[in-house]
Amino acid sequence: MGSLHVDQVTVEFPLGPNTPPVKALSNVQLEIQQGEFVVALGASGCGKSTLLNLLAGFLSPSTGQIKLNGNIVAGPGADRAVVFQKHALLPWLNVIDNVAFGLKLRGIGKSERHEIARKHLKQLGLEAFETHPVYQLSGGMQQRVGIARALASDPEILLMDEPLGALDALTREKAQELIIRIWKESSKMVFFITHSVEEALFMGTRLIVMSPRPGRITHTFDLDFSKKFLAGADARAVKASPEFIGMREQVLKIIFGDEEASGGDHV
């Protein structure tokens, strides 16, 4: 059973000799168990990406520590795959070679890595685009290639920073459903950042709401809307149910409260 522990983590960014550092995260405590889908919501600048960069190993905490299966995270690694908002694919490789890129880095032979990649392309409905150049795909398809690439290296946890933020509404809802299905099949841990309250409630098994200055987790909710969807309920029906709407308004109130408290500096 895999698990991820964030233990009393604080992150401070130095700004210069005469200015106090930015407290991007303050005393963050978080635990993710195998099969959990944790969603992070919060006003811009509350430290969501900072937390994700910590989990990915791109950033080391000022104090505290992060452990994956009991081992301290000390840098990026293939056990924690990242899906970025901007797809970050490699345009000189075609679709299948992008998906197989992580396997190639590990020295897995071409036919074997293509076989694994093909399986994930199929899972994401991209089997017809194997040999296409990635820059000819639509934004939604590129994002699916990015997810397939992350899955192909069989990580313990998927880290996603607003992966659907740049998609149109319809593509976005389809992608949400796809990601939930894949998560259920693979039972991996997921840490997912979004700005959409609806997306967060629909997809997660747990929601953390963060507040800025200093960045911290202020609320945690357990969710079961994705279970209803996976049990066969229609996605729109789930999102239109009274419980869902009630929850949505409750979370929105918290986030708007933060915005007002901090002067409402929208960017």
Partner: protein, 286 residues
Amino acid sequence: MSEQKKPPSNPFFGSLFKIKPTKPGEVYGVPGQGDSLLISAISALCLIGFWSLATWAGWIKPLFLPSPIAIFNKFVQVSTEGFAEKTLFEHTRISVLRVFGALILACATAIPVGLAMGMSRVMRGIFDPPIEFYRPVPPLAYLPLMIVWFGIGELAKVLLIFLSIFAPVAIGTRSGVRSAAIEQVHAAYSLGASPWQVLTQVILPAALPEIITAVRIGMGVGWTTLVAAEMVAATSGIGFMVLSASQFLQTSTVIMGIFIIAAIAYAFDMLMRFLERKLVPWKGHA
């Protein structure tokens, strides 16, 4: 705020900046759109026509400007009979070999140096002073020194061209290192890449478009330098042919040589553009 802004009244600038609503296929407000090939062809034909007229009517003496026909005849003559004991083809071949030799040498050294400079603070610190020192100096200014050191043989010429290509290629490669998006680099690390794999499989391919552009610029600089060097110290090559023909007042050979120099430079550039399309089809899409 109900008053509408009047468009600028100057019709020339108005049409230049496409400030009128555009036709389908054009974009509003983008200057200089549309295909200019036909206009260029007409322009070239007019120039040649005017040249023919001026020489035919005797406005200019053939000593200063022979007619286009005379130039073509000279081309045929030098191609078959040769100039200074070598045919036109041989002169051209020698010049092209000198440039390509120097280009290959320069790519083999400048690309690794440029990569190292882009990747490492220490390397940048080491290579910046010499490159920035000699780069702005015209190659002909240090040609005398090269001749003192290496004589008037091939070595001095190839080294001179090599130096003129080295700087632009190294500098272009160095700035190309920054073309990889930080997300691409992070994605590779989070897929388990080692720093060496990130260099060879992410940074180098991402830098390739800029490297090719740099080589293309280097090629142009190298060709210019070569022709100049051949005019100073050589017994063969296109530049030599042009200079020594001028000393015998063979103006038609001079002009013919200039056309050959231009044609080869153009062919080089076409070759590089072709390679660019083949090697980096994703350029501009990424």
